[in-house]
Amino acid sequence: MAKQPLSRIELLQGTLDFIILQTLRWGPRHGYGIAQMIRANTGDTLQVDTGSLYPALHRLEKKKWIAAAWELSENKQRVRVYRLTSAGRKQLAVERTRWEQLTGAIAGVMRQPVPEAES
């Protein structure tokens, strides 16, 4: 095994939801497609465990942030395709704000302390 996927590092609570919503912004996708896309977009760093992905998808669907429908894939496979709802879009904006605040805060913590300026 060449590289230990980072998903083994627990994603922060709610992060996976955010990632899924974000992924779906580019268009409807089935579960496998979402997993593949997350993987590709993170350069194989994040491998989403199916045991986390499907519960999350169904949870988001229940919250009506995403909607699902059965469609035929390009190779005639019957697949369940998820797409972002308008509620999901709003939620994504909220999540993004929160994410930015969070990353900003963490970045702040990580930054070298600036010497205190004399007034």
Partner: protein, 874 residues
């Protein structure tokens, strides 16, 4: 509720299928991608599977994300489906468990249905718990076993009392009814004016009679049954006139079918209680407590009130007891103890059934050890596993209860039909009602816990122990011990029931082998009741009886005919004291039955004249009074054997013509209840009887030498030829009359015997199950032993030893328990001690033999184990 559950089920199912599809698609796409990258199909599938992880887990956690609301039901649903699957895998075990439990629950529910109807349901009257039987009579003794009031006391209380709001007396007598079809004898319920109002029951059609009605009101109220049988339920029946004991009465109403009080009455007529200085009979008096009065207050008032009543001549106040008894107690008091006894017996059967089912489930747990371990390893919590096992027990109990209720329905009908006539009161109120259903559901819950919890806790606790590195053998050992304990308990319970049934059967044998003192074989009896308005004098009645006897004697195939003013083995016998000429005074309580018989009676009855002579045609009206005494009277007062020729009188202060000469001595006979000792009796010739009241009832006893089928109709014909206007009376075999007197004990013995056979059968199944299982489990060990030289005999002996290890403690405990418990049977036994050693010994011996019989098949299977295949199979 049920609908929504199924609706939810359907939705859930669809969702499950969709999830499966989704997962399958994901998997297929992963494999396709990998193959596109050049992997071989096998590698691709393996890698995809590895990447995907545990499908079951994914499914489980995804389902959980569907929400917590359905989770509990979801799990129950899973458990149930799992149960259905696993029971379907072993249909034999499931069927055995369900049938066993259904029989137990069915029998228990049937018994409860009867107890509920007879003992628990309120009487079908208005506010029945305010109804009391008022009694002021001698305490229970030879004369009075039932509560009652003397006529004069009833009149006094009815006129003025401050505790009852309505007061009535009632009784029933057979009456001849004419005016609709053939003349017929029906039970006429007499009630004083308040009778119906007091019970608060209105007529279904027309009206009842009310306060103030009495002898002068020539009306009649019909029972629903009579109305349907004789009037084809014609509503225009009101106003129709019936002739009842020669009084023309107008029909004023029909009662609803639920009204059956007194029990046997088919019609009701109003009556008045008259003050009669000589009448010393008491009868039931019914009162409704005034509103607001408590039972305690009423008792105190009743005691005070009766203290002021004037006493009938010759009675002392100290001889009477004042009582207020709830009506229901009087109606059902007699059968309560029997019903409770049967209920207890049936509870034993149910316990044994539960033990069997628990054993079956334990066996399945043993087989499923690996499955349990795997499920536990996969993360099923202990609670979940216990729940799974309880769900199994519940599924079995639920199906068994549904079947059991069906069985109970059939059993109740059977029991009510088989129950001796007139001994089970309130039959009409016996039915499956909500309380019975609730009881059955309660039984289901109880059996679920009893059958399921023990194996469930046991199984999971053992797994924990196994986890703590205890060896597999101790685990199996623990379970075997529990299973053996259950079987030992079953044996003990079944033995208690068998001993009880054995005692009742022995008692019944003693009853039927009682030497009555007269012959019952080939004896036919015909009875008549002479209506008081057409047969008024003793002379007319004597003439009738003599002519009937003569007509009967002319029938071909009749060897001897005797008349008696009493129905052999019937009820209501005349008994009293007498005076001995110049002799000792009788002891204060001494009484002899007083009977009038024709000259042929002793020969017809097969009785023995021990000294002197039987009556003959010289004992006529007008000739010197003659009596024949029974052996015990002779022995008591003339121990020297010189009774014949002495004189006695039925009068306290005899005049010259009151004396009767003793002309003979006959053997003592049982006159009424065959469980009571033979009575002392004094017989008078019918021809000399002067008391008209003693001659209204007549029985003709015929010793036949031809088949009953030809003699009985000829007897009817002969009787009708003397007075065609009398309703046709019964003609019956004397032997059948014995059957009637022992109906109740025979029914009790049969019922308890059925229950105990059921218990025995279940216990045998339990023994068989444990042994068969242990043989199957130890096939390997047995194979090794046989390979090492054990003969089939030694192996069979091993199984037999195991049987004894179950049977001996079971029987020992059972004998001890029976010895402690059969005391409750004391009142049901005739000439048998509750601890009768012969019964205990024979029942225990029988049980031991059949227990070894149950071991036969497993032992034979063990002896036939093929060492080679047993060793190879592992």
């Amino acid at each position: 509720m049920i609908r929504s559950f199924f609706f939810w089920r359907r939705r859930r199912d669809a969702r499950d299928l969709e999830l499966d599809d989704e997962i399958r698609a994901h998997f297929a796409m992963a494999v396709a991608d990998r193959m596109a990258r050049g992997e071989s199909p096998e590698d691709a599938a393996a890698a995809a599977r590895r990447e995907f992880g545990n499908v079951g887990h994914v499914r489980e956690v995804t389902r959980e994300s569907w929400g917590a609301a359905g989770l509990w039901l979801e799990r129950l649903d899973q458990d149930l489906r799992f149960t259905a699957r696993s029971l379907r895998r072993s249909p034999g075990v499931a069927a055995a468990a369900i049938i066993t439990l259904a029989v137990g629950i069915g029998a228990t529910t049937a018994m409860f249905t009867i107890m509920n109807g007879v003992l628990l349901r309120p009487l079908p009257f208005a506010a029945p718990d305010r109804l009391y039987i008022a009694s002021y009579n001698p305490p229970p003794g030879p004369f009075s076993r039932i509560p009652g009031l003397y006529d004069r006391h009833f009149i006094a209380v009815d006129a003025k009392n401050d505790l009852f709001d309505g007061f009535a007396t009632f009784w029933s007598n057979p009456a001849t009814v004419r005016g609709v079809g053939d003349p017929v004898k029906l039970s006429d319920g007499f009630g004083t004016g308040d009778f119906f109002d007091l019970l608060g029951v209105a007529a279904e059609i027309g009206s009842t009679f009310h306060h103030g009605a009495g002898d002068d009101d020539h009306v009649v109220v019909l029972s629903d049954r009579l109305w349907r049988d004789r009037f084809h339920a014609d509503p225009r029946v009101l106003g129709h006139v019936l002739e009842i004991d020669d009084v023309a009465r107008t029909i004023i109403g029909v009662m609803p079918p639920s009204f059956q009080f007194p029990h046997e009455a088919e019609l009701w007529t109003p009556a008045t209680v008259h003050r009669d200085e000589h009448r010393m009979m008491t009868q039931l008096a019914l009162g409704r407590l005034r509103p607001g009065m408590t039972e305690g207050q009423a008792r105190a008032r009743w005691a005070a009130l009766t203290g002021h009543l004037d006493m009938p001549p010759g009675l002392d106040r100290s001889a009477l007891v004042a009582q207020l008894i709830p009506l229901k107690e009087v109606v059902v008091g007699d059968v309560r103890s029997s019903l409770i006894l049967f209920g207890g017996a049936v509870a034993f059967v149910l316990l044994i059934a539960c033990a069997n089912v628990a054993n079956l489930l334990l066996m399945r747990v043993a087989v499923r050890d690996r499955e349990m371990a795997v499920r536990a390893a996969l993360g099923a919590g202990r609670v979940r596993l216990v729940r799974q096992l309880l769900t199994e027990a519940f599924a079995i109990a639920a199906v068994a209860t549904a079947l059991g209720i069906g069985l109970a329905y059939a059993a109740v009908r059977g029991l009510v039909t088989l129950a001796p006539n007139q001994t089970l009161p309130r039959v009409e109120s016996i039915r499956l009602d909500l309380r019975v259903l609730a009881f059955a559901i309660g039984l289901a819950a109880m059996t679920t816990v009893v059958c399921g919890l023990a194996p469930a806790l046991h199984a999971t606790e053992l797994r924990l122990r196994a986890a703590l590195a205890a060896g597999a053998r101790t685990v199996a050992g623990g379970r075997a011990r529990l299973r053996s304990t259950l079987v030992v308990a079953e044996i003990a319970l079944a033995l208690v029931l068998l001993v009880g049934a054995g005692l009742l059967i022995r008692s019944l044998q003693r009853l039927t082998s009682v030497d009555l003192g007269f012959q019952t074989a080939d004896r036919l009896v015909a009875t008549v009741d002479l209506p008081a308005n057409r047969y008024t004098t003793a002379e007319q009645m004597r003439d009738y009886h003599t002519r009937v006897a003569a007509a009967l004697a002319r029938i071909p195939g009749v060897d001897a005919v005797g008349s008696i003013n009493w129905r052999p083995l019937g009820v209501a016998l005349t008994a009293g004291d007498f005076t001995i000429e110049g002799g000792p005074k009788l002891p204060p309580d001494y009484m002899a039955d007083k009977l009038n018989v024709s000259p042929g009676y002793f020969r017809a009855a097969g009785m023995h004249v021990l000294r002197g002579r039987p009556f003959d045609n010289t004992d006529r009206a007008g000739s010197p009074g003659a009596v024949i005494i029974s052996e015990s009277v002779a022995r008591k007062f003339w121990p020297a054997g010189d009774a014949v020729g002495k004189r006695i009188s039925f009068s306290d202060k005899p005049t010259a013509r009151d004396w009767f000469t003793i002309v003979g001595v006959v053997n003592d006979v049982v006159q009424q209840d065959i469980s009571s000792p033979r009575d002392a009796a004094i017989y008078q010739p019918l021809a000399q009887s002067q008391v008209a009241g003693w001659l209204t009832r007549g029985s003709y006893l015929v010793h036949r030498v031809a088949p009953a089928a030809s003699v009985a109709p000829a007897m009817r014909e002969a009787i009708r030829s003397i007075d065609p206007s009398l309703p046709v009376e019964q003609v019956f075999e004397l032997r059948d009359a014995i059957g009637w007197t022992i109906q109740a004990p025979r029914f009790a013995a049969r019922l308890l015997a059925s229950f105990s056979l059921l218990a025995l059968g279940l216990a045998l199944i339990g023994i068989y199950g444990v042994l068969a299982y242990s043989v199957a489990q130890r096939a390997h060990e047995i194979g090794v032993r046989m390979a090492l030289g054990a003969t089939p005999g030694v192996v069979a002996g091993m199984i037999l030893r195991r049987t004894l290890m179950l049977a001996v403690p079971g029987l020992a405990i059972g004998v001890a328990a029976a010895a402690a418990l059969t005391r409750v049977l004391a009142n049901f036994l005739f000439h048998v001690q509750p601890t009768d050693p012969a019964t205990f010994a024979s029942v225990t011996g029988l049980f031991a033999v059949v227990a070894l019989g149950a071991a036969y098949l497993p032992a034979r299977r063990a002896a036939r184990v093929d060492p080679l295949s047993a060793l190879r199979s592992d």
